[in-house]
């Protein structure tokens, strides 16, 4: 089944086109990495697909439902870990997680069970009673990602999830993501290319709002006639820059 399909998806802000005529199709349970240099349009694409902002032109479909007309039915089955850490500062780690679980329709008991499970798999146990605002940046980040996962979405957007995590936490998160992708569709953005290569089934590279190429890392490297994926990424990103 198709998880995401976009038709000429476009977003224009005053004076600039952040996302231009995006056409892509992502399958269910695929892990798709959306790459591109700063300002390429990754976050804007995620904001449109998660029904946060309206496209200027075109449309997108999440499991067949239109993001412009049917957001009501899309919202319960998706979740996002925003690029910027997004936690309620005066709530504890547990309270933050329970809040999100309940907003997505879980009752008190199942919220608590899910909270405990996710605290265990994210190594948040030792800080679970602490207020989010006093956590270190990396712990806040982990909490923010955990809050996206607790609703058990069918489609998950991870916007630069590993930003600010130490090497150990990053590898831990990789493990979590690998396990998740068995029964979840994941769209991931990152500036760590080796992360995209290690985790994703397919990669798309955006340059100035346009999706330039889609394929596995091997396919992209071959098409760009490059020695490795990083060279291919640089070649594609620069060749289009004017």
């Amino acid at each position: 089944m198709t998880a995401i399909r976009t038709e000429n998806l476009t977003k224009k802000f005053k004076g600039i086109t952040a996302v231009n005529n995006l056409n892509m199709e992502i399958m269910e349970n695929e892990l798709f990495a959306l790459l591109g240099v700063n300002g390429a349009g990754k976050t804007t694409t995620i904001k449109m697909l998660s029904c946060l902002i309206k496209p200027s032109e075109g449309d997108g479909y999440i499991f067949g439902k239109s993001i412009t007309k049917d957001s009501y039915n899309i919202k319960p089955i998706i979740n996002v870990s925003p690029q910027e850490t997004a936690v309620a500062p005066n709530l504890t780690v547990m309270e933050n997680l329970e809040l999100i679980a309940r907003i997505y329709g879980n009752d008190k008991n199942s919220s608590l069970v899910k909270t405990k499970n996710i605290i265990a798999s994210f190594g948040l146990g030792e800080v679970q009673k602490q207020k989010a605002k006093i956590l270190s940046g990396g712990y806040q980040r982990r909490l923010s990602i955990a809050m996206a996962l607790i609703s058990e979405p069918k489609l998950l957007f991870l916007d630069e999830p590993t930003l600010g995590l130490d090497v150990l936490a990053r590898r831990e998160l990789w493990k979590v993501i690998k396990k998740l992708k068995e029964n979840m569709t994941i769209i991931l953005t990152t500036h760590y290319l080796e992360e995209a290569v290690a985790l994703s089934d397919r990669i798309g590279i955006m340059v100035k709002g346009e999706l330039k190429i889609i394929g596995t890392s091997a396919e992209i490297t071959r098409k760009a006639n490059a020695a490795n994926f990083e060279d291919a990424f640089i070649y594609i990103s620069e060749s289009e820059a004017v």
């Binding site: 919202k75 997004a86 809040l99």
Partner: protein, 245 residues
């Protein structure tokens, strides 16, 4: 489910801010003590405890606007809000989630104000209960003002408008500090066109047992509360959309 979870979060955010508590409870109580100290030395009818308490209660409620306005203004620009906008929460969930926890807080604040007044010599009678009930529309009014300001302004502006302007308006234009008819003229007319003096007068009428005087004053408060609440809902919904454009 959604509403109660969000409401719980909002009351935690407000109550865990010690400064909120200090201002919301401390300020009105200090003023109450101050005025009754003045009253003890130079008795003025205006500052008689039965007369002054409803005014102090209304003054205290203006801090509720500050809390709700600050919370919403801060939320609106935070990435945490992004997460809530992405979630299945509807506009009505947001509005109710912000309003509902504030109402019991406002009523509690009013009750504490009256208990302090009793300690200072307020005549104990059933009229106290009535006065507290009569002040509930005022609580809604101030919550709505907070919602509106929080939806339109940023947190620093809310601090200025609700924290400085509104608390002063509700103090000076409510007839708590001085008898409005002593000043008279345009000042009195403006005060009578605004809801604050009516809120206080409705409370005073309840305290004095002049029951037929309550409704004429209360109508002003309820009218203002309804209009501002509608404006606030509109502003929040529109602003929520444009914040993400």
């Amino acid at each position: 489910m959604k509403i109660s979870a969000f409401a719980l979060r909002n009351s935690r955010e407000i109550l865990r801010d010690k400064l909120n508590l200090a201002f919301g409870l401390g300020f009105p109580l200090i003023v109450l003590l101050l005025l009754s100290a003045i009253q003890a030395n130079i008795p003025v009818e205006l500052f008689a405890i039965d007369h002054i308490t409803p005014g102090i209660a209304v003054f205290g409620l203006s801090f509720i606007s500050l809390f709700s306005g600050m919370l919403i203004a801060k939320d609106r620009t935070s990435s945490f809000m992004l997460r809530l906008y992405i979630s299945p929460m509807k506009s009505s969930d947001f509005i109710l989630g912000y309003t509902l926890p504030l109402l019991p807080m406002a009523v509690m604040q009013t009750i504490i104000c009256f208990i302090a007044a009793i300690a200072l010599g307020l005549t104990i009678s059933m009229n106290i209960l009535l006065a507290i009930i009569v002040l509930i529309p005022s609580a809604v009014l101030f919550i709505a003002i907070g919602l509106l300001c929080g939806s339109i302004f940023n947190d620093r502006q809310v601090g200025g408008i609700c924290g400085a302007l509104l608390t002063n308006l509700s103090a000076w234009l409510s007839g708590t500090w001085f008898d409005l008819s002593l000043v008279g003229g345009t000042f009195k007319k403006i005060a009578e066109l605004l809801p604050f003096s009516h809120a206080v007068d409705a409370g005073r009428a309840a305290m004095a047992g002049q029951f037929d005087m309550i409704i004429p004053h209360l109508i002003w408060v309820i009218g203002y509360a309804a209009v501002i609440l509608v404006l606030a809902i509109y502003a929040f919904t529109v602003k929520a959309k444009s914040d993400n454009k």
